[in-house]
Symmetry: C2
Subunit: 207 residues, 2 copies
Amino acid sequence: MQYSSGMVGLRERKKQRTRRALIESALRLFDEKGFEETTLAEIAAGADVSTRTFFSYFASKEDVVFYDTHERMELVRSLLVRADPGMSPADLLIRVVESSLAWSSAQEELTFEDAELRLRLILTEPTLQARALTVLFDTQLTAAQALHEAYADELSLIEASAAVGALFGSVKLAVIANLESNRSLEQIWDTVRRATDVALAGLRSLG
Amino acid sequence: MQYSSGMVGLRERKKQRTRRALIESALRLFDEKGFEETTLAEIAAGADVSTRTFFSYFASKEDVVFYDTHERMELVRSLLVRADPGMSPADLLIRVVESSLAWSSAQEELTFEDAELRLRLILTEPTLQARALTVLFDTQLTAAQALHEAYADELSLIEASAAVGALFGSVKLAVIANLESNRSLEQIWDTVRRATDVALAGLRSLG
DNA sequence: ATTACAGTTTTCACTTGTTGCAGATTTGCA
DNA sequence: TGCAAATCTGCAACAAGTGAAAACTGTAAT
């Protein structure tokens, strides 16, 4: 019958292994030869499955790079939805950014979990960049909605969107600027924290 | 030889006519049957050219929807680059938004220039939405850079990005929210103006 | 163990976007 | 009119993605 949460049959383990193999194969190839230059046949071959099988794990070639998007977004949403009512909106958003960074650092499931490389890939390949912007956009909408609901008395939806927009806008730029000047992830996170402070100055003044 | 600006030979006129025909054919079909469901062969047929020729006018199927992107971006850049030094950053950004709206309303070149329909198409079709976000992102980068340069003494690049992010973030949301509730373009523009005010409150308080 | 069933993978065929190339066609101009 | 450059077309080829049927493999019940 159905397993409720800890499906640990051979079947399930095999599926996870294949998924991982596909991700690692894809990322390794993208890194070596670039996204456009890598073919689905090659990715599949590297994971020892048929080309067709790739599509029962990922809906498209880009999707494989964003394998953890869903969890990331859930994290953001959950932090915003059950916000401590005592905390100011600005402080809450800061906590969201920090939790998000902490979560990234904590992910080590994959051999290939080199966050910096993935980031560089996304910033480099137009197709991946477009996909990242879509993900970010959805996150932004979710966050603005949640923030507005958490502080319905103080923040209109438009105001919440402005705050979130400021935050994401400055963080995006901080990441890009830093990556271009070849800094380590740690240095980048520092800049992101400063960008956050600046971005939220406006929100604080609304109080 | 080279014509400097007013190329009005038969050749050039014919090219413009074909370009227009392609845009109209594409938008009409996208509207009728959806973006994915429309084939390049159909678009080309509707404009009386071969499928191959489509690609000497547009680099991809999506591109045809964003035929005026370049001019739009030039408008934004030019407004920011030669800013009146007496104007505050917030007022300058407001002017940018208003000029942009005015420009949109003034475009009537195409039979099919139904701005609302194009907007709805972009918001509806994932592929087009992704493309739009890319365009918007580039504009945001350009604007932040230009704003920072125009007010180098007062605004760091991060601060400029935050301001632009707030502006774009709230405007995006205003557009979406309004379009979903089926309002006219005029009503949407009103909301955008209010969103602009809210978004820039933070920037004003920085002064 | 055997077997029937459901979930997975593979194979195959097909559509569509996109590109390179070579051979027409058309246009601008002397 | 006639040549050179710009355009357009048809064709072949490749990669992403999809649908459907056949082959394979855990799972669980007898």
